[in-house]
């Protein structure tokens, strides 16, 4: 059973990569932000901007192609990123349709209203908790009967920890936030600001148990697999059941938020593409396609008379209403970022060697300045510029004070503006210094290191020395990942290895922009 569930998504991913026009690299395929510049309206081709977890639809879409002649060319993106692309009008230049887990979030944005038309829900999957079976046994739970209050209690007692995607970037994270806020506030209908306020102490206790955060569900699963101290994952039921390693799926008995995967046409799509989309959705709604969908992806069918896969529990759950106004949704996100979640602690290890002089340094300064507004309340930020070694005199640490958040942000901006380019490139020694500066005993924060470099290591510690250094760190310290940013002439292989070693992820600023990469990393901090 286990090997089967493992092989399936991998095969799906491989096919997805083969189908994607310009699949960049394995590491970024699930959140690829730069779309392919495909020729518009190739006959029978539908260009779709899709949620990353839809990579598991490859087999079904291949069958759809054989049945309908419509080839789907998918580019994967996070929900927030996709919504931004639709709102800005960028999406309609490159795609005919969007296929997100849900359009609830999209609808809160009035600037997207005229840009979409024709939504066809294809399948459903609730957001749930996947818990290690050992933990379920230890807690003595009947998985069918667990409530949000019980989950809160277990977390507050230090008996349950979990990983979840960033609600600002991913729909599964946001749905989880809505569910837990509804469940713990006792709200009887759609959430209001006062419900969130009332539930704040409980929510803070619940989010103290969140040990992993991520901008994408793919990386979340990888990071979870490395950790033995995280008991559970929050994600769609379908993703949890397909994840490597067995997880017991808990759909809290007092309510869930469910994604319904509407295939949604962009208003600007050419008529031929709209016709292709119609053929495709008609096919996907046939009983045989619905049976394949539930069988291969473990989502629930939306056509009468088709039973869900036997692996899916049939007991009905209350559906928790999704907030109906942007102010409530934004208020919830704001509360999560600035008061509910554990604070972030971040060291920016910044290459300011001689080669960074001129335009590159200007871009770095601009990107950092842009980034400062994104720092959350209570976040601790360290800028650590390096050349031949860490430029000790320029290393400063600031904490964003909720009472005066502008002060730290302004100071960081001033520091960034003073950066100068000089010296060699001591990548590994500087990384080691970053780990040392974070201390031997980890604090209760989301701790991470961002490494930005434009060249290869020339000074100080060699790669092998750093490996040894890293292995010598305490287990707690080794949980701090490095997120390297590929920029200028930096060496992809070297940076990939650092990400791999430390459990981080590589971000590519050579394709997109440096501030785009920094922004994306925020989801992981």
């Amino acid at each position: 059973m286990r090997t089967r569930t493992l092989r399936r998504p991998l095969a799906g991913l491989a096919l997805a990569l083969a189908l994607t026009a310009t699949a960049a690299s394995c590491s970024s395929s699930d959140t690829s932000t730069g779309g392919p510049t495909a020729s518009p309206g190739a006959p029978g081709t539908l260009r779709v901007l899709a949620s990353s977890e839809l990579a598991d639809m490859t087999t079904v879409l291949e069958e759809a192609r054989r049945a309908t002649g419509v080839t789907v060319r998918t580019t994967y993106a996070g929900t927030l990123d996709a919504v931004e692309q639709i709102a800005s009008g960028r999406a309609e230049k490159e795609y005919d349709a969007v296929w997100l887990s849900s359009n609830d979030y999209l609808r809160l944005r009035p600037d997207t209203a005229g840009r979409i038309t024709g939504e066809t829900p294809v399948m459903t999957s609730p957001v749930a908790l996947g818990v290690r079976p050992g933990t379920v046994a230890r807690l003595g739970w009947d998985p069918a009967k667990v409530t949000w209050s019980q989950l809160h209690r277990a977390v507050a007692d230090g008996k349950l920890t979990y990983g979840m995607t960033d609600p600002k970037r991913s729909h599964s994270g946001f749905s989880a936030l809505v569910s837990v806020a509804s469940g713990l506030s006792g709200a009887q209908s759609a959430l209001r600001d006062e419900d969130v306020e009332r539930a704040t102490p409980k929510l803070r206790a619940f989010f103290a148990g969140q040990k992993l955060t991520s901008g994408s569900s793919g990386w979340l699963a990888t990071a979870y697999a490395r950790r033995t101290d995280v008991d559970a994952l929050v994600n769609y039921e379908s993703v949890l059941l397909s994840a490597p390693g067995e997880l017991t799926v808990i759909r809290p008995s007092d309510g869930v938020v469910t994604a319904d995967y509407p295939l949604t046409l962009l208003t600007a799509a050419p008529a031929a593409a709209k016709e292709s989309a119609r053929r495709l959705t008609t096919y996907l709604r046939t009983p045989e396609a619905q049976r394949r969908i539930t069988g291969t992806t473990l989502r629930r069918p939306v056509v009468a008379g088709v039973d869900p896969s036997p692996r899916l529990d049939r007991e009905v759950r209350r559906e928790l209403p999704f907030p109906g106004s942007r102010s409530v949704a934004d208020g919830l996100l704001d509360a999560y970022d600035n008061t509910l979640r554990r604070p972030s602690r971040t060291v920016y290890v910044l290459d300011t060697s001689g080669s960074m002089g001129g335009e590159r340094l200007t871009r770095l300064k601009e990107a950092l300045s842009e980034l400062t507004d994104d720092f959350r309340d209570r976040e601790e930020v360290t800028l650590m510029p390096f050349g031949t070694a860490v430029k000790t005199g320029e290393v400063h640490t600031y904490t964003v004070d909720p009472r005066d958040p502008a002060r730290a942000r302004d100071a960081i901006r001033v520091d960034a503006g003073r950066l100068t380019a000089s010296g060699g490139t001591a990548v590994y020694s500087s990384l080691a210094e970053a780990y040392r500066s974070l201390g031997a005993s980890p604090r209760d924060t989301f701790t991470s290191i961002v490494l930005m470099t434009d060249g290869e290591n020339t000074d100080g510690m060699a790669g092998a020395d750093f490996d040894a250094f890293f292995r010598g760190l305490s287990e707690g310290q080794r949980r701090t990942p490095v997120f390297p940013v590929l920029f200028g002439d930096s060496d992809r292989t070297e940076l990939d290895r650092i990400a791999e070693l430390t459990g981080g992820r590589l971000f590519d600023a050579t394709r997109g922009s440096l501030d785009g990469a920094f922004e994306e990393i925020r989801g992981y901090q």
Binding site: Q188, P301, G305, P321
Partner: protein
């Protein structure tokens, strides 16, 4: 009314004559055979339709019937009230789900005479419920059910009183046996600002709440605004078309009470799809959705005429759960087979008249809190 039925009869007779002629013509074409004729002989008409008619237009038999009558129809879906915001240049028709948006589309059309709307079929609004929920409603005087418990009447007065009192499922007798029945009691409807069924729901509710008066202006809207706001706000995010909440319902997720068009349910029944624990509740005061086609070109007009008058297309409309205008033995026969779910004669169901488009829109905006600021 008498006039309308009479003219419908005349039209039907004409339609039959026409169809016989047409069928003859098609037979000739087919016999004379040229597949090459097929591609060139038909005219393509493009239109925007409410999502609930999507499956009708993609039905191969409908496609074939239209093709035989010289038309290829290309459609895309949109919320009925969103249609006028779409760039309709290049389209041959718009086919919203009620008169209100159709009137506005006509008013915005370049050729108003051409855009005179046609109403080929209609469908009343109903509430689909899972049987546990329906039984709890019945046990608390909010609904009455037939002997098999598969169909019934929703008592709108009692329901609106429960909504006014912020009634939760937990407060209803018998709900405690079902964990999923918790939270505020409400019917899921679509976004009334964007979608027709949601707006018509408000029209029916305001009619009941205001003592059987049709809202005719700001003052009338103001009288029921707090209640309509409640009906809407408790739902949180609303979908913009009636297909999505129905699919959620079929999938076993979402709220146990969902407002849909009867056609969405009856099409499933007529196709002999197993409907699980479905219960169809007819609100004792409801609104008919008059599916109204606004022609924008001659081609669009021709399509409207065919849908209204052609017996074959009328029969196919029934397959998709619609009630053709005028006497329709086809619907009576199809619905008769599923009498345990469908109330074919709409016994015990009163029709609420629909306010004008402007009033309805005002009502919808205020319900969603987009009132005076919009």
């Amino acid at each position: 009314m008498g006039f309308r039925e009479h003219s419908a009869r005349v039209r039907r007779i004409l339609g039959i004559v026409l169809a016989v002629l047409l069928l003859g013509g098609v037979a000739v074409v087919l016999v004379a055979g040229g597949e090459q004729d097929k591609g060139t002989a038909t005219k393509t008409v493009r239109g925007v339709i409410g999502s609930e008619k999507s499956e009708f237009f993609t039905d191969p038999d409908v496609v074939k019937a239209l093709d035989a009558r010289g038309l290829t129809v290309a459609t895309e879906t949109s919320g009925s009230w969103d249609m006028e915001q779409l760039p309709l240049k290049g389209y041959d028709f718009a086919f919203p789900s009620s008169k209100g948006p159709a009137d506005e589309l006509r008013a915005a059309a370049a050729d108003k005479a051409l855009a005179a709307p046609l109403r080929p079929f209609y469908s009343p609004l109903v509430v689909v419920a899972h049987s546990d929920a329906a039984r709890v409603l019945a046990g608390n005087g909010l609904a009455t059910l037939n002997a098999r418990g598969t169909s019934g009447i929703l008592r709108m007065d009692a329901y609106l009183a429960a909504v006014r009192a912020d009634r939760t499922w937990q407060q209803l007798k018998g709900a405690d046996r079902h964990a999923e029945l918790s939270g505020t009691l409400f019917i899921t409807s679509t976004d009334p600002v964007a979608s027709n069924s949601g707006a018509l729901y408000l029209a029916a509710a305001s009619y009941v709440a205001d003592g059987g008066r049709v809202a005719d202006g700001k003052e009338a809207v103001g009288r029921t605004a707090p209640l309509l706001r409640k009906l809407t706000q408790v739902q949180g995010a609303q979908q913009t078309n009636s297909d999505a909440p129905f699919r959620d319902f079929v999938s076993g997720v979402g709220n146990p009470l969902v407002l849909v068009y009867e056609s969405q349910v009856s099409s499933q029944l007529i196709a002999d799809r197993p409907m699980g624990d479905l219960v169809v509740l007819y609100p004792d005061t409801t609104v008919n959705s008059d599916h109204t086609l606004v022609p924008l070109t001659e081609g669009g007009r021709e399509l409207g005429r065919l849908l209204a008058e052609d017996p074959e297309l009328r029969r196919l409309a029934v397959r998709h759960g619609f009630r053709p205008q005028g006497a329709s033995p086809e619907f009576a026969e199809a619905a008769g087979k599923h009498g345990q779910y469908l109330n074919q004669t709409l016994t015990g169901v009163r029709q609420a008249p629909v306010p004008t488009g402007a009033v309805l829109r005002d009502m919808a905006r205020r319900a969603r809190d987009q009132g005076d600021t919009a």
